[in-house]
Every structure is written in structure tokens, then in C-alpha cells.
């Protein structure tokens, strides 16, 4: 019998982990009070990532090899959506090669955007991907710079064999302004953290949890897994004390290794809860921002056999320590470097060409000849097969999820790159097809002829004159032990 609930989940975290002590060392002269936060590391996106690209990667981790045609809807929750008026979730849809007949929406506005999306998705019968993704910007020498992280998480909700079912949910909305950012502005404005804790987290958030527990008829301390997306460990402890939560139930916010990833944080923590939950156990998820959303799930028998596409512990473990604070500031646009005349290439993107080639560009859709089986990218009128001048025989053939091996490569120090040198080369896909593209997140010692790579959705180039973003697919080395 088909039931509705959570079908799958996935997480994406950028590879680089900025060391907080390096950040503090640079800013200590100005902000010595940040010392207590100067521990551990945070995930930082590269120059070619944003809320869309990270959301796509989280969604891919969530969908694995599930049939993409089964997805009826996609919602991207973020407070840092790259486009104010262009459906960001529409780009995600193209990158995932979902059917055109899907509903798609962007939600934003607060740190509970993703839980709001999750609540809505659970109220409907269709299968919907809920993604939370943010790349937030904070001023140098701010608390946010140290506490925040970049990343995304996705949950697939729908009908099938759920690993967790919704028992109850509750939402409250109160215009409590702990921080805000006006439209078009770059940085948040924060109010005193003690007030936010006392009046916000301990009253509004804790109150919503209490009333949900009452509604569900369950004692708060009986809930096995609790997601409280609050960056301050002290505040989490205070909430747990007030609600008499089981200390073991508290899900780690990954503050030490990742940082608070914004809209995706409740889903990142939910993913951890789902990874450890056993059948019958309850999971409470909350989102906080001008009120709160609280959802209570119960893990099903199916969770025992569920294997995520990529294990969360692996994703966290793949992080690489980064001590280059200067590069981080440059990639965030917080300092300007002399880029030279070569950087002046106009990146104008005509709407007509992108629309015509959207499945190839955004979806890495190649083609396969029905007569000869020849795979190629991109599709063409006449087959590239030297032995067959077949015409009109090519059918769509997705390449994004196929392993590719390096045929040739270089590390180019001449052309402009925000992260020199630019690694790129030729790749042959297992099963056919060839692509010349850039390599992302690599170092010279990771590249050699024959090295297996996987494809990731990234920013190809920003159009700085018209403020458009061009996306395409790049290759990253497949980590050892990874399929």
C-alpha cells in the first residue's frame, strides 16, 4: 500500500572548510571579542557555486537513481536566491532533467523557508522535492562570517514507500525581528543575541514545540530525535532544559565543522536524524523565523533498509581544510583584486540560444544514436560517428550522472580565473560520449590520465554587466571508495 511521507533525503556541502582561527587571526586587531567563536571550521562555497548549484547537488544526492519522471514538483527554499525574478527552482528543474510537467516554486523570506516548503509539500499528494540552500554573505569580522556555513539539503516528499511519516505539524507567525535584510541589500542587521534567545528561541520556538507535542499527545522527552536549528549551543541547551528534552535526542547542528547553512539547516539536521533513526522512532523538525514551523515524523519500517545515495558522514568527511581567508573574501566579493584586461570578456547570454539549448546546457543532455548507439554531446543534426552519417536518429541521453575519465588535461595559469590555475580537459564518459569542460575543486596531484570524475552543476561565468548567471557542468574527482 502506498503511503505519503518522506521518501528520500540528500545533502551537499562544499569541499573547502575555512579555518575559523585564520579568520580570527586576520580580524583580531579589530574584533578581539570574536575569540570564543574562533574554533573549528566552516563550509565555504567556491566562486562558481550559489544557492541554485548547491541546491541541485543536494537534490541529486536525494534523488540518486530514482526515476526523475516520478517527481511532480520542486521547491527551492533560500534567502539568497540568485534571481529575484526568474524562477530559481526552474533552473533546478532543468539541471535535474525533471519533466516539463512539474510544479516549481521558490520560497524565501526567512530562515524557516524550507520547513514551510516541507509543510506545504506534505499537505499535497504529489511527489515534491523540497530543497533548502543558501550562500549567505556576512561582513568581514562579523559573527555571521564565523557561524554561518554554505550548503544545501533536500528532502523528497510524496507517495510510495516513505521512510518517515508526518504525525503532526504546527506553524506560528509572529513578527519577531531577530535579524533582517532589506530587498537588494547584501548584509543582515542583527539584534542582541540575549534578547533573541530569551524572547525568540525560548518563547516562540519552544512554545511551538510544546503545543505540537500536546497536539500529538506525546511527551517532549519521549521524542527520540529533535532538530533545533539554532547556531548557539548554549541556547539549544536552554531550550532542551525548558522543554525537558532528552539530551541524546538533540541533533548536532554541525557548527564545529560546517556552520549554520541558512534555509537548508533544518533539512541538513533532518537528514542526520533520518540517517540515525530506527523504525518507530519520532523526529521533531523545527524552523525559526518570524514565528516557527514544527513537524513531527515517525520513522517507518522502510528506514531500516534505506541507503542514502551518498552518506552524510562521507560528505562531511570529504571537507578539505582551507586557510586562505583572502581567497574566501575575494570569492564573496568582499575585496576586489586586480583581475587584468583578460577578465573583461563579455559574458552576455542571449535568451534565445539558452532556451534552444537548455537541456544540453543546464541538463547536460547528450544524445544516443538509435542506429549505431554512438553517444555524443551535444546533440547534432548529423551523427559524429565517422562510420555513419545518420540523420535524425539521436535520442536524448543524460550524461550528468555518468562517470567520466580524463583523456587530457592542463592547469592554465594564463586565462583569467577567480581561482587560478583553471583546470580543464577532455573527458570520456563510461558508456560513450566525450566532453571538454572545466574541473572544479581539484588540486594538481588529483589529476592524471584515466582518473575517474563525476559531473557537478556549477556557475560557468557571471555576466557582470547585466547580472545574469551562466551555468554549466564541471567535473570533480571521484573520492576514493565512492561509486
Amino acid at each position: 500500500m502506498s503511503e505519503t511521507g518522506i521518501l528520500s533525503y540528500g545533502v551537499y556541502l562544499p569541499r573547502r572548510r575555512l579555518q575559523r582561527n585564520v579568520v580570527f587571526a586576520a580580524n583580531r586587531w579589530f574584533a578581539p571579542g570574536l575569540g570564543p567563536l574562533a574554533k573549528g571550521e566552516r563550509a565555504i562555497a567556491s566562486w562558481d557555486e550559489d544557492a541554485i548549484t548547491m541546491g541541485v547537488e543536494a537534490a541529486r544526492a536525494c534523488l540518486g537513481d530514482l526515476n526523475r519522471a516520478d517527481v511532480d514538483g520542486v521547491t527551492l527554499a533560500s534567502v539568497t536566491l540568485p534571481f529575484a525574478d526568474r524562477l530559481n527552482a526552474g533552473v533546478v528543474k532543468e539541471a535535474l532533467n525533471l519533466l516539463d510537467e512539474v510544479a516549481a516554486s521558490d520560497v524565501g523570506g526567512s530562515m524557516r523557508a524550507a520547513t514551510t516548503a516541507l509543510c506545504s509539500a506534505l499537505e499535497r499528494s504529489r511527489t515534491c522535492l523540497c530543497i533548502g540552500s543558501d550562500l549567505r554573505k556576512s561582513r568581514p569580522a562579523s559573527e555571521g562570517e564565523l557561524l554561518q556555513g554554505d550548503g544545501a539539503a533536500a528532502v523528497l516528499v510524496g507517495t510510495g514507500t516513505p521512510i518517515a511519516k508526518l504525525i503532526a505539524s504546527r506553524s506560528v507567525t509572529i513578527d519577531f525581528v531577530d535579524h533582517f535584510r532589506a530587498t537588494g541589500e547584501e548584509f543582515d542587521y542583527n539584534w542582541e543575541s540575549r534578547w533573541v534567545r530569551d524572547e525568540g528561541h525560548l518563547k516562540i520556538l519552544a512554545g511551538a514545540v510544546t503545543s505540537l507535542a500536546e497536539k500529538a499527545g506525546i511527551a517532549a522527552n519521549a521524542i527520540e530525535h529533535v532538530v533545533l536549528p539554532v547556531a548557539s549551543a548554549g541556547t539549544v541547551k536552554a531550550i532542551a532544559g525548558k522543554l525537558d528534552l532528552n539530551g541524546e535526542a538533540l541533533i548536532d547542528g554541525l557548527g564545529a565543522t560546517v556552520g549554520d547553512i541558512g534555509a537548508g539547516q533544518p533539512l541538513l539536521m533532518l537528514a542526520q536524524a533520518l540517517e540515525r533513526a530506527k523504525p518507530g522512532e519520532r523526529i521533531l523538525v523545527s524552523g525559526f523565523g518570524q514565528g516557527a514551523d514544527v513537524l513531527l515524523f515517525e520513522a517507518t519500517e522502510a528506514i531500516a533498509d534505506f541507503r542514502p545515495y551518498r552518506r552524510l558522514s562521507n560528505i562531511i568527511g570529504e571537507g578539505v581544510a582551507d586557510e586562505n581567508y583572502h581567497r574566501f573574501l575575494f570569492h564573496r566579493g568582499l575585496i576586489d583584486l586586480e583581475r587584468g584586461i583578460r577578465a573583461e570578456l563579455d559574458q552576455k547570454q542571449p535568451g534565445t540560444t539558452l532556451y534552444r539549448k537548455r537541456t544540453a546546457v543546464l541538463g547536460l543532455m547528450g544524445s544516443r544514436c538509435k542506429k549505431t548507439g554512438t553517444v555524443q554531446f551535444p546533440k547534432s543534426k548529423v551523427s559524429v560517428d565517422p562510420n555513419s552519417r545518420a540523420m535524425g536518429t539521436q535520442e536524448d541521453y543524460p550524461l550528468a550522472d555518468r562517470t567520466a575519465r580524463i583523456v587530457s588535461y592542463t592547469a592554465d595559469a594564463l586565462g583569467y580565473s577567480p581561482d587560478p590555475p583553471t583546470f580543464y580537459g577532455t573527458l570520456d564518459f563510461d558508456g560513450g560520449g566525450r566532453l571538454v569542460t572545466e574541473f572544479a575543486d581539484v588540486t594538481a596531484d588529483e589529476i592524471e590520465i584515466g582518473r575517474p570524475m563525476r559531473m557537478v552543476f556549477r556557475i560557468k561565468a557571471p555576466d557582470e554587466q547585466r547580472h545574469f548567471t551562466k551555468y554549466f557542468w564541471k567535473a570533480v574527482p571521484i573520492a576514493e571508495g565512492e561509486a
Partner: protein, 402 residues
């Protein structure tokens, strides 16, 4: 196999502007400088030119569009001028147009001009530019060194050459070209260098260092071609004759066909070379070719090209290079004028510059760098694009009977 054009067209005049950073000159004055030399060499009046071809690689930086810039600069008598662009093979393509016009009988005397004014970009190297709206969405706009550097790793992997041996052979290519360029008064770079300088230079695109890369230059070169009969009427008793011109253009196989091309060679050069040898009647190029000018945009390009032209065996060019086979005093001198590396590389002019050197050498007019053994058959190889997608152009010129 078509009959070809062997011995149907003669070169009666050639000119080449001094290559380099010509801060005081624009494309117009460079073309006039080359043309004046050619006109004097041919001993004709400009009114005898029936048709002209203008080769420019980066028109946006130099001439602008159309054939008008050539007609205006030289005040040609309102003849037809076609502008051609075929990446760095532009110069040879311009030459091909003029030669074919004469071979067909459509023109008695035709002009091929190649020009490039690159030092108005504000930085070294080629101008960064769009490669079309489709390519810009999914192609890599890498630098030229980045594109060509990619032959090195597949080549050494396939042929079991160590990184060190390959790097040293590549370095020898550049050391040799610098030695040759030093003896050429029209060359852009005229400084002799040692191998350590090459090996220790900063990396531009792994594994190419600064001295593995040619720079870009301002310059122009041109040829006036006619029938052998008219050439003799003009007093050329032993004219330099065109033996073959072949272009091969990538059709996407290297770029798109997974598992096909392995990245270690130039597919098009092998095709163009085979056809050119057939057209010229060359059966054993290692024995018959006396002199070569090849497209040494990067040291690794020259190295691999020695195999693609069937002079060195596959996987063994690096040994021939280290043995001095291609040195100025070796068996087949390659880049005796300094090549792209040192003569310079004004894109649209380079193919014609190569033919210019061969033309001088065949007539014994190459001055201090003249090959003493009386070369009779000379090849030039002009490549445009990147290893994975390109235009390869080969011209063979020689004396009567060669």
C-alpha cells in the same frame, strides 16, 4: 584523387614586414611594408594584380571586416578582394585562394596578404574572444597554451616518455628556434637562450613554461603568384613553384567522439600531410623534404607535428629532436628562420611568413641563415584552432623538377 596543382603556379614576389611590437604602425602600414617588398621582388606594377585575398585572424583588433582594408591600404585597382579567416591557418588559406585563382585561369596574377595587428590589446597573448553563442554556453574558453598543453600528458602516457625527457625535448625545440631567430633581422625575438632558462621558466599552462610558448606579434606577409609562363616572362628563370596545398578541417570527431582520438596527435595534420605528399609526389618525406617551417605555437605542438608529418616515427620525435635532427645544421632544419617562437606570430601573416622563408631558402636568398646544401623542396605547416578541433594547412613549394 584530384589531379592537384603541382607546378601550375609560381611565386614571383614575396614580402614580409619586420615582425614584433610595432607600436608606431597599424595594419595598413604593415601591409604596405610587405607589399612594397613583394612588388619590387616581382618587378610588376600594381595594376597587373587581378585578384587578392586578405587573411586576418582577429579582425576586431586590427583591420575590421571585409576585403576593403587591403584594397584601401594598397590602393588596388578595384579588383575583387576576399577576406579569409581560418584561425591561425588564415595565412595559408589566403595563399590558397590566390594560388587557386591562378591555377584555374581566372587570374593571371593574384595577391595573397596576411596581416595581424595584435599589440593593441593591452596584454600579451591572443585576444580573449567569443567562439560563437553555442560554444560560449558549454565550451571551455581556455587560453591557447592551455589548449595545446593538453597534448603533453596523453602523449607521454601513451608512449611511455618520462615527464623529464619530454620537458627536455620540448625545451630543445625552443632553444633551437631562439638560436635560429637570432640570425634573422626580421624576427621579433633575437636572443639566444640556454636549456636551463627554458626548464626553469614559470609555468603558463602545465607543463608548458614561458619559453615553451610563442608570443604574438604585429606583422604582415604577402605573396604574388602567377603562372610559370608569366613568371619566366618576368625574368624568373628558375621560379619557385607550388607543389601542393592541402587543408584538413576537424569535423568534430576529435571533440565529440568518445574513445576515438586519444589526444596525442593532430588528426588533421596527418590527413593534410598525406594528401599534400600525394599531390607533390613525395613518397619518402624524411628523405625528400629539405626544409620545414611548422606551426610551433608551442614546443609540444612542434614535437608532435614531426610525427604527424611522417618525418619522425610515432612516439619518437622527442628523440630526433634531442639528437639535433631538426636543428639548423641537422638533417631537416625546422624553423630555420626562428619559427613562430622567434620570428613571431602575427596570426593572419604566419602561414605566408613560413612560405616566405621557404621561398628565400630555395632561391639561396636567406642571408646569414641560408641553408648551404641547396634545398629544393620545402614544406610549411600552418595550424589553426586547438588540438581537439582545428584547421591544418600544408604547403609544399619547390624548384622545377623537385
Amino acid at each position: 584523387m584530384p589531379r592537384g596543382i603541382k607546378d601550375k603556379v609560381a611565386i614571383v614576389g614575396m614580402g614580409c614586414a619586420r615582425f614584433g611590437e610595432r607600436w608606431e604602425d597599424d595594419a595598413e602600414s604593415l601591409m604596405v611594408e610587405a607589399f612594397d617588398e613583394a612588388l619590387g621582388d616581382a618587378g610588376i606594377d600594381v595594376s597587373r594584380v587581378d585578384a587578392a585575398w586578405l587573411g586576418v585572424g582577429f579582425e576586431a583588433q586590427s583591420t575590421g571586416p571585409s576585403g576593403i582594408p587591403l584594397a584601401s591600404a594598397l590602393r588596388l585597382p578595384n579588383v575583387g578582394v576576399s577576406k579569409v579567416e581560418n584561425y591561425c591557418a588564415t595565412g595559408t588559406d589566403s595563399f590558397r585562394g590566390a594560388v587557386y585563382a591562378v591555377a584555374s585561369g581566372a587570374a593571371d596574377i593574384a595577391l595573397a596578404m596576411g596581416v595581424e595587428k595584435l599589440k593593441d590589446t593591452g596584454y600579451g597573448g591572443l585576444p580573449v574572444r567569443s567562439r560563437g553563442l553555442n560554444f560560449d554556453m558549454y565550451g571551455v574558453t581556455g587560453s591557447a597554451p592551455g589548449n595545446f598543453a593538453q597534448i603533453a600528458a596523453p602523449y607521454r602516457t601513451k608512449h611511455g616518455v618520462s615527464r623529464g625527457d619530454l620537458k627536455r625535448a620540448m625545451a630543445h625545440v625552443s632553444v633551437k628556434s631562439h638560436a635560429n631567430g637570432a640570425r634573422n633581422p626580421k624576427a621579433h625575438l633575437r636572443k639566444v637562450i640556454d636549456i636551463e632558462t627554458v626548464l626553469d621558466a614559470p609555468i603558463i599552462a602545465e607543463p608548458l613554461g614561458l619559453f615553451d610558448c610563442c608570443g604574438v606579434s604585429d606583422g604582415a606577409a604577402c605573396a604574388i603568384v602567377t603562372t610559370p609562363e608569366i613568371a619566366r616572362q618576368l625574368g624568373k628563370t628558375d621560379p619557385v613553384l607550388v607543389k601542393a596545398i592541402q587543408l584538413a578541417t576537424s569535423n568534430g570527431w576529435e571533440l565529440q567522439h568518445g574513445g576515438g582520438w586519444d589526444g596525442t596527435y593532430f588528426h588533421t595534420t596527418r590527413i593534410a600531410a598525406s594528401k599534400a605528399y600525394a599531390e607533390a609526389g613525395v613518397t619518402d618525406p624524411r628523405k625528400q623534404i629539405d626544409l620545414m617551417e611548422v606551426h610551433d605555437c608551442f614546443s609540444i605542438t612542434e614535437l608532435v607535428t614531426m610525427e604527424d608529418l611522417f618525418i619522425s616515427k610515432e612516439g619518437e620525435a622527442w628523440k630526433d629532436i634531442l639528437d639535433g635532427f631538426y636543428d639548423a645544421d641537422g638533417s631537416i632544419p625546422c624553423q630555420i628562420d626562428g619559427g613562430l617562437k622567434c620570428f613571431g606570430h602575427p596570426i593572419g601573416a604566419s602561414g605566408l611568413r613560413m612560405i616566405y622563408e621557404n621561398y628565400l631558402q630555395l632561391q639561396g636568398k636567406a642571408g646569414e641563415r641560408q641553408r648551404a646544401d641547396g634545398p629544393k623542396l620545402a614544406l610549411s605547416h600552418n595550424l589553426g584552432g586547438a588540438p581537439i578541433q582545428n584547421v591544418s594547412a600544408i604547403t609544399i613549394v619547390g624548384l622545377q623538377g623537385a
